[in-house]
Symmetry: C2
Subunit: 285 residues, 2 copies
């Protein structure tokens, strides 16, 4: 096995392991829940593999719908074995115009909650190998009702993951996240941020892979804590309405501004997987 | 008064008269209604003038929310007295690079219904004067539950308006509408179409203005008939759910593909007015 093959196998195995651990943590929350809507059966993920138009394996969409705590969670793992870069994208990568082949593997997740008192969340990490290779990803929190404690804990967990791997990572990646998840037409951030990083290639693959694992583990540690802390609180109709309006902003960001969504839809990606991030219900009153 | 001033005044007066007649027709429907939700008070439009950042008059947003029949209607009239074309847009108009001033006036309307059995609708007409001048607009219907009769009547009314003004108008403008209101990422049309036209300048201003008035009048004639025919029908929860999913597609079209929306948001237009077209509630289950 070449070094590259070994790295591909380890990255793919990690993203799939992380998916399994996250899905198990979310299903455990559904099981343990007491509070409004607890008369429903606990939510369960349904896994659906999909195939690309060329017949190759696309990945797995795991969706939990209509749970007691989670209204809709989409978790996508996807591995592209033999991609070809578009000429436009290849231009941005030294050496890729000569050899436009790429390999990629990723996990991507968005959770929308029944309760407006539990923040929504997004997490995504990926490894990309072409003429150059890198890691990218991040996680960001969207409280519907302002909540300093949850925001503080979320940032602190990501800061610990960053600080263990690069002295300037947290400052850089937090600022990048604030810049990215912003709705210019509204003059509003999408949520309270987190971290965002892309094209991370420090020259030490093992260190970069370890950092990417640490981001996933920080998410796995802190987000279920936040959900469990808030999930049994009762909420008002006004808070639910506010949540549905904030979800409208989430839709606006994803369709108007998110580069991943635009890129995926324009290049014939799997629509169901790309738009799985959209909320189950949203309002523009 | 110059010819240009006279034309500007007449076009602006028409768009505002059409708004008043449409709003009156919709409020009469709210008054006359019997059926589900008839215990509510009849819906009424609330008018809100807005001012551009440069202090000039922006126009009027008229919104009816939470009616018995109409869940949300936004009607915008807007007149721009002394606009300056962007260099990019000026390049597409012969002579405009030398003199980038423009004047424009328009009416734009989207109606979302309480009942999934009544089609949603969009109508918009406008007059634009710069180094070249033209009319543009159209109307298109979005039935939530397939309905051949409403679709046939809607198309027939627009065809009559077209046929009275140009032998090839209906064929050309219907095809243009089908092409425009299409979601490539879904491989789906937004609704059943209607007509769409732009940069219409036949050389006879009076004829083009008369055609644009005829489009507005055709809408004013046929759409209230369709609403009155369907509005008292009862509907099922499954039909309502289907309506909310179709409205999600409406959101996708408007945010991902509609050139007017993208242009308006990128050029610092009035966000409230531009996004008034979004449905009061939508679902992505």
């Amino acid at each position: 096995m070449t070094t590259a093959d070994d790295r591909k196998a380890r990255a793919k195995a990690w993203f799939e392991e992380l998916r399994d651990r996250i899905c198990a943590a979310f299903e455990a929350i559904e099981d343990d829940y007491h509070g409004p809507l607890a008369d429903r059966p606990p939510g369960r993920f349904v896994r659906k593999p999909w195939t690309r138009e060329d017949g190759s394996d696309g990945g797995v969409i795991s969706v939990l719908r209509g749970g007691r705590v989670f209204e809709k969670i989409g978790v996508m793992t996807s591995t592209r074995l033999d991609g070809m870069l578009s000429p436009e994208f290849a231009k941005t990568i030294p050496g890729a115009e000569k050899d436009p082949r790429f390999w990629s593997s990723s996990i991507s997740l968005v959770a929308h909650l029944q309760s407006p008192r539990v923040p929504a969340v997004h997490m995504n990490t990926r490894h990309f190998m072409a003429a150059q290779s890198w890691f990218g990803g991040g996680a960001d929190l969207t409280p519907m009702v302002p909540n300093d404690v949850d925001t503080r804990d979320f940032h602190a967990a990501l800061k610990r993951a960053c600080d263990a791997h690069g002295a300037d990572y947290y400052t850089r990646f937090k600022a990048w996240c604030d810049e990215y998840f912003y709705l210019p037409h509204r003059g509003e951030p999408r949520g309270v941020g987190g971290i965002f990083y892309d094209r991370l290639d420090s020259g030490d693959w093992e260190a970069d892979f370890a950092f990417t694992r640490a981001v996933g583990l920080a998410f796995l540690e802190v987000y279920p804590q936040i959900v469990r802390r808030r999930m049994s609180e009762t909420w008002t109709e006004a808070e639910r309405e506010h949540q549905l309006v904030r979800r409208g902003r989430y839709v606006e960001f994803n369709l108007l501004h998110d580069r991943g969504t635009q890129f995926g839809l324009k290049t014939g990606g799997n629509v169901e997987a790309i738009l799985m991030s959209l909320p189950p219900e949203a309002r523009w009153p």
